[in-house]
């Protein structure tokens, strides 16, 4: 995009403009996403509970309810308790929101529609989502309230434990595709739904559920919402917060939900590639058609991610909360061993070249082997030139990869 703008203006301006557009778009995802998800949560919860949810504000379905809430929150007094560590208390919501927002940087919305094309984006996403916990811990500590402190401690224990199985689940699609780049992983699942990694083999199917459980736990949603556990800790880490600062925690929470669901969509559900390859030919046509195809892909991706968020909402309004020791045991006793088992299983499936549904449905898979990282070619060149054992090994590696 920067090159495109550079034709019309100085280079620095083009760069700035590009950056601004990306930032604005991602901020819109955070802001509008939070508005929509809070509204959706209230509507879905209402329906689950035989109520209507918001109905008046903004017309028939209470569309503007979240916006009205937002206005109310902005006008509310921003209180800090007397015992609080003022500086950290004020900073904590931003510390919570920033990583959640930064995670969107590396999340591709369609082929190439990504804020920052980074080769290790799966890893980066998981890493930066883990940082969100700092905001919660700081809020818990700085509030000067014991309930908040409990919330912060619970969150610390929970997130550190759940990062392990979450990472293990994320690794499985990574090694199936041979890359950590989300864009590449998404593109490799082009074609029919059978090419989605969740249907690749029984182990990936199983690991998706482990991933989803851990994702719910890592974004602190019921039944793992121990840090805010209303009936035990009043409101946990955000007990003492009010007004806009309070709402930042919620923006961070909903955004993280969107990010983990989006990650699930890319890792397991083909990302922007629909169950039916309608736009494949458009994409190939290039030019304006390509943009249309990408737009459709983007909507497809957002739809999948929103679906994930909706499932989380559904779960929240259905299940009771676990106890802290049960949360940790669930992680250590079930999630970690299951993830490890699926890891080994999926590895074995791949090594034994066992079939995946795509093999007989579309004999010429669209994606999988198409990705060649640049170094592979250089490695092949080098192997030709030198003929040394190490390079040969590398060439063989590259061959396997194909």
């Amino acid at each position: 995009m920067a090159e495109f703008f550079a034709q019309y203006m100085p280079a620095w301006g083009a760069y700035l403009l590009t950056a601004l557009i990306s930032v604005a778009l991602l901020l819109a995802v955070v802001g509008l996403g939070a508005l929509f998800f809070i509204w959706a949560e209230r509507k879905v919860a209402g329906r689950i509970q035989d109520r209507l949810g918001p109905t008046r504000t903004g017309g028939k379905f209470g569309w503007l309810q979240s916006l009205a809430d937002g206005i109310k929150l902005i006008t509310k007094e921003d209180l800090a308790p007397a015992d609080a560590d003022r500086l950290l208390f004020r900073l904590a919501p931003y510390v919570s929101l920033a990583p959640s927002y930064a995670a969107l940087l590396a999340l591709p919305f369609a082929d190439g529609w990504v804020g920052w094309e980074i080769n290790t984006s799966v890893f980066f996403l998981l890493a930066i989502l883990g940082l969100e916990v700092f905001g919660v811990i700081l809020a818990g500590y700085a509030s000067g309230s014991k309930w908040s402190l409990f919330g912060g401690m619970r969150q610390a224990a929970q997130v550190v434990s759940y990062e392990v199985p979450l990472g293990m689940c994320g690794v499985i699609p990574v090694f199936l595709c041979g890359t950590m780049s989300l864009t590449t992983i998404g593109n490799m699942q082009a074609g029919w739904a059978t090419n989605w990694l969740i249907f690749h083999d029984p182990f990936t199917f199983m690991v998706f559920w482990v991933y989803f459980t851990c994702a719910v736990a890592s974004v602190n949603r019921a039944p793992f919402d121990l840090a805010e556990a209303e009936s035990e800790l009043v409101a946990g880490f955000h007990t003492e917060y009010s007004g806009l600062r309070w709402s930042f925690f919620f923006m961070a929470e909903y955004n993280s939900m969107f990010v983990v669901s989006g990650l699930a969509a890319v890792l397991f559900f083909g990302g922007w590639n629909g169950p039916v390859p309608i736009f494949a030919s458009w994409k190939a046509a290039g030019g304006g058609w390509e943009i249309v195809a990408d737009l459709a892909g983007c909507l497809n991706f957002i739809g999948k991610a929103v679906l994930g968020v909706m499932v989380m909402i559904w779960v929240r309004w259905t299940l009771p909360r676990l106890r802290i020791d049960q949360v940790i045991t669930t992680c250590l006793k079930y999630c970690v061993p299951l993830a490890a088992f699926c890891f080994v299983g999926a590895l074995a499936w791949q090594l034994a070249s066992l079939p995946s549904p795509n093999d007989w449905l579309s004999p010429d898979p669209a994606g999988r082997a198409a990705v060649r990282e640049p170094w592979v070619e250089r490695a092949e060149d080098g192997a030709e030139r030198s003929g040394t054992s190490g390079a040969e090994e590398l060439a063989r590696l590259a061959e396997d990869k194909r």
Binding site: Q49, E230, S231, R321
Partner: protein, 400 residues
């Protein structure tokens, strides 16, 4: 299922600082204005001290200045979730002093109303217990049904919460025309709804994990602490005043067929059409208390159905409330009734005037709550909410 002397060792792997935490009086899971002062070591609660009295409204002192009928509204405000049953207890106590014989029809009205009150009360108990464990939806499902019962109450007496319907000498008015049909219609649609509650709570894996084996009150402990109602029966004590109480109360249930909901040899009387007891559950734990309540709802439905039949068959009138200034004979009486939350007792001392010399209300929740101190020692912070919730207390009744 019944394990004796289960010993639990709680390990404190890292010694942390002891925190003194004030749970309540404003706390989401203390059911009103209960204040628990907790000493915790990390998440483990080492000491609990309940502080009550935040809702003390001097009901007993007020009772010394009012005639028995005037005091009826004050009984409403004790257990405001089962106001009808409170009215009933006080009315029976006054009638016992007066030696009043109740007409047949009034007796059946009272049974119907009292059992509906039991259902309404247990629905709140169930719903708020869900809240304590972090699930919101069953609470609203419970209130949805409770509202229908309150609608029925409203039709009978004009009030939904503080009914003052049952009164010494009978009730304040006959059941309105067509009410019985509405009541039956309600019961018919209510029975299948209970399955929902069982799906969402009783048989839910997380619910069982959170309640089974938690807060175990042994038989002896329950009796020793004076626990009554579902808390007592949840510990396996076969004691229900509707069957074992004194005659003035039990004769109300003459002709009604019901079994006391208590576990015998691993089985509850009605459990053929109910989810089985999970293997993790220990007799006397939170799960059993909850389960007893759920079964009592079902039992109350049957009693109401019977009551409706009896009412239709009965003749006579619905009783005559005593005059406001009826002179009470000199003497003293004590009467306990089986209210939803336990045995609610009223003690009335009369010096021969129309106004009692002394009125005393023996609160069931008061005794049930006194167990927490021993029960919560060594449990986790989250269990405190689960345990206190399973006792199903109403602060209005405790503080009076």
């Amino acid at each position: 299922m019944a394990t004796a002397n289960r010993e639990q060792i709680i390990e404190l792997d890292v010694r942390t600082d002891e925190l003194l935490v004030n749970m309540g009086p404003q706390h989401p899971s203390t059911h009103g204005v209960l204040r628990l002062v907790l000493k915790t070591d990390g998440e483990i609660v080492t000491h609990v001290e309940p502080h009550i009295g935040y809702l003390h409204r001097c009901a007993e002192k007020i009772g010394e200045n009012l005639t028995p009928r005037q005091w009826i509204p004050y009984t409403d405000r004790m257990d405001y979730l089962a106001a009808m049953n409170m009215n009933l207890g006080w009315s029976l106590c006054v009638e016992k002093l007066l030696g009043y014989e109740l007409p047949e029809k009034a007796r059946h009205i009272r049974v119907i109303i009292a059992e509906l009150g039991r259902i309404a009360s247990h629905l709140v108990g169930m719903g708020t217990y869900g809240l304590d464990l972090g699930t919101f939806s069953p609470f609203l499902y419970a209130f949805r049904e409770r509202e229908k019962i309150l609608d029925l109450f409203e039709e009978v007496c004009g009030a939904r919460l503080t009914n003052s319907y049952i009164t010494p000498g009978g009730v304040t008015g006959d059941l309105p025309a067509g009410w019985l049909e509405k009541c039956e219609a309600f019961l018919d649609q209510f029975v299948p709804v209970i399955t929902e509650y069982h799906t969402l709570l009783t048989t839910n894996a997380i619910f069982i994990q959170r309640t089974a084996g938690i807060g175990v009150i042994s038989r002896e402990m329950a009796i020793d602490y004076g626990c009554t109602g579902p808390v007592l029966r949840g510990s396996g004590v076969d004691h229900d005043l509707r069957r074992d109480g004194e005659e003035r109360y039990t004769e109300m249930y003459d002709g009604y067929a019901f079994e006391v909901i208590v576990e015998k040899d691993g089985h509850y009387p009605r459990d053929h059409d109910y989810p089985p007891v999970p293997p993790e559950a220990v007799l006397g734990d939170c799960w059993h208390r909850f389960y007893v309540r759920m079964l009592e709802v079902m039992q109350a439905i049957d009693i109401v159905r019977e009551g409706i039949e009896f009412y239709r068959a009965s003749s006579g009138d619905w009783g005559h409330p005593i005059k406001l200034n009826t002179k009470l004979p000199k003497g003293e009486v004590y009467l306990e009734t089986e209210c939803p939350r336990g045995q609610m007792g009223f003690y009335l001392v009369s010096d021969g005037s129309a106004i009692p010399w002394r009125v005393r209300a023996r609160s069931s929740c008061f005794c049930n709550l006194s167990v927490t101190e021993e029960l919560c020692r060594g449990c986790l912070l989250a269990d405190v909410a689960a345990i206190v919730g399973s006792l199903d207390i109403v602060m209005g009744e405790i503080d009076r």
